[in-house]
Symmetry: C2
């Protein structure tokens, strides 16, 4: 559990592309994002209040979150100077970088001296149990993709936000470092030991009110040979009541796998549903989320209409069209 | 890679049930099993030559293998006395125990002092790559089960042995601690970090001669909600040319999951084949292995005949009937 709210550290990020984590926090948990702090030469700007470390503290910030990717895979001296000072002043620090904060002697020493916590959210900190498959109360929705990086996290976030707006009970459950930093908690599933993956997902989505929905962040794809085992653990450990199919229509091949074509939405529906029924016989596919970022408005609308006609399921790009219809379908379950 | 041959340490095992690893080595790699060494009160006896540590060394043993489960989850002082002496004399030690050798200060000190190696085969020692899915030469056979512990390792071992007998090219590829200790190498797949599972299987089964078969040790089941992610990584990372379906017909429910019925062999065939085709479109289901240990001869034969009729695939219990027909089917691919 990372303490909120945050001051967002943008470092010397060359551009907005490097600031994915910070953008996610600003967009999805604006209350967590009190302000931004930047180094000279920073090319990213979230449009948040520019703050010094001291000003952040005065505004109530508890944790300095590294909201950008670092250059060259090292934590530079210029970064370290700010991070050490933050620990001295009383901040915790949270990071999803591959380089771990805990591998930096200066940061470890400063955190110990000042009684602060370093959160490396890529590293599991819990001894997760073996999954039991025992039915849980409450409802769970899992986004599954024809490929990696097709908008599964965005879809779950958007559906959770729509439910909140309607006053329904829901929680976004993060399974990757970006989601964990945005919400302050979760399971870094791709770093969990194989035998405990499904148990980690059960741990993440416990019994809940009967009318509460967990939106579980998807990972990988059942059709992506590098990561399908992680996806499988989500399908079985997540015990979903509803599946949302996610797809990006303009992609030539599976991400990182030039020899592999994407499956059809029909194939994804059939395989995912069959597997999900093992842990929850009542699971349904309730909607389809299309990532239309590489299409114009007209093409995007036409594509969604065509898929909706063919598959007989509400089909939208939640970024472009909103998540209302996906949530309507869940509300009817 | 564990140096062979072995002296098998049986400790104070109460009975033969506790000596599963040692029995596996004796039965499948008799050339690796030079002799046995036992403590007072040991109730297990493999029928191998009784040896002191010194006699084992004279006979050529390189590694002392802990061939039994330990009592109460601790490595006792009586065990440690033998293990430390073995290291002093020049043995490496290999173990699949949950308690790690490397966590025992005395053993670590003795190994360092005498330049010997402690092999904890439950712990991965390789930084496995991310799976690429690139087609590999050679052929691979994977046993998949309706449940855990239905005879997948035995089936793969028996088919490998039958190919060896025929002078065909084959290798058993271990993915669990027992298999690794038996053969001296492998990947402890259930202990690998989620993102690298399929890559570890690719690493384990590299390019090979076109007429060479890898028999990959299966793990878990696609229908076992606790471990299905591990099985999925084997199906995709293993890139199998042939699948063997494994089943134990007398079981009431999935192992460790009282609320879950076993799937039918038809359901396993359909799901496994569909998923395996993602990484190898030419994969076939080539045979069925039935674990008939809880049936009499007549019932076992009748059950296999019935399944063979229904499924149209060679169906045997390789322990009872031999693996010849399963290998015949592969030889025809």
């Amino acid at each position: 559990m990372i303490e909120t709210p945050y001051l967002l550290f943008l470092g010397d990020a060359p551009d907005m592309l490097a600031a994915k984590v910070a953008i996610g926090i600003r967009d999805w948990r604006p209350d967590n994002a009190l302000g931004q702090i930047r180094l000279p030469g920073c090319g990213a700007d979230l449009g948040l209040t520019e703050m010094t470390l001291e000003q952040g503290l005065e505004a109530g910030a508890k944790t300095l979150v590294i909201g950008v990717a670092n250059r060259g895979g090292v934590i530079s001296d210029a970064w370290k100077e700010v991070l050490v000072k933050a620990l001295e002043l009383g901040y915790d620090i949270a990071s999803g970088l591959h380089n771990l904060l805990r591998d930096e002697g200066e940061l470890v020493a400063a955190a110990q001296m000042h009684g602060r916590t370093l959160h490396d959210v890529r590293v599991p900190t819990v001894a997760y149990p073996i999954a039991t498959g025992v039915p849980r109360s409450g409802k769970r929705c899992l986004a599954v993709g024809t490929d990696c990086s097709v908008g599964k996290m965005y879809t779950a976030m958007a559906m959770d936000a729509e439910m909140q707006k309607r006053g329904m009970k829901s929680t976004f459950r993060a399974t990757g470092q970006t989601g964990i930093l945005i919400t302050g908690s979760g399971v870094p599933l791709d770093a969990v030991i194989a035998d405990f993956m499904a148990g980690a997902v059960e741990y993440l989505t416990p019994d809940n009110d009967d009318d509460h929905w967990d939106f579980i962040e998807g990972q990988g794809s059942l059709f992506h040979v590098s990561y399908s085992g992680v996806t499988m653990a989500l399908v079985h450990g997540g015990q979903p009541d509803a599946l949302i199919l996610c797809h990006e229509p303009t992609r030539d091949h599976m991400r990182g796998l030039p020899g592999f074509k994407l499956p059809t939405l029909e194939a994804l529906r059939d395989v995912a549903l069959q597997l999900a029924k093992v842990s929850n016989p009542d699971v349904v596919v309730s909607g389809i989320s299309i990532n239309t970022q590489h299409m114009n408005d007209e093409d995007a609308a036409a594509y969604c209409a065509k898929v909706e006609e063919e598959m007989g399921l509400p089909t939208v790009d939640p970024y472009r069209h909103g998540a209302e219809r996906l949530v309507d379908a869940l509300a009817a379950i």
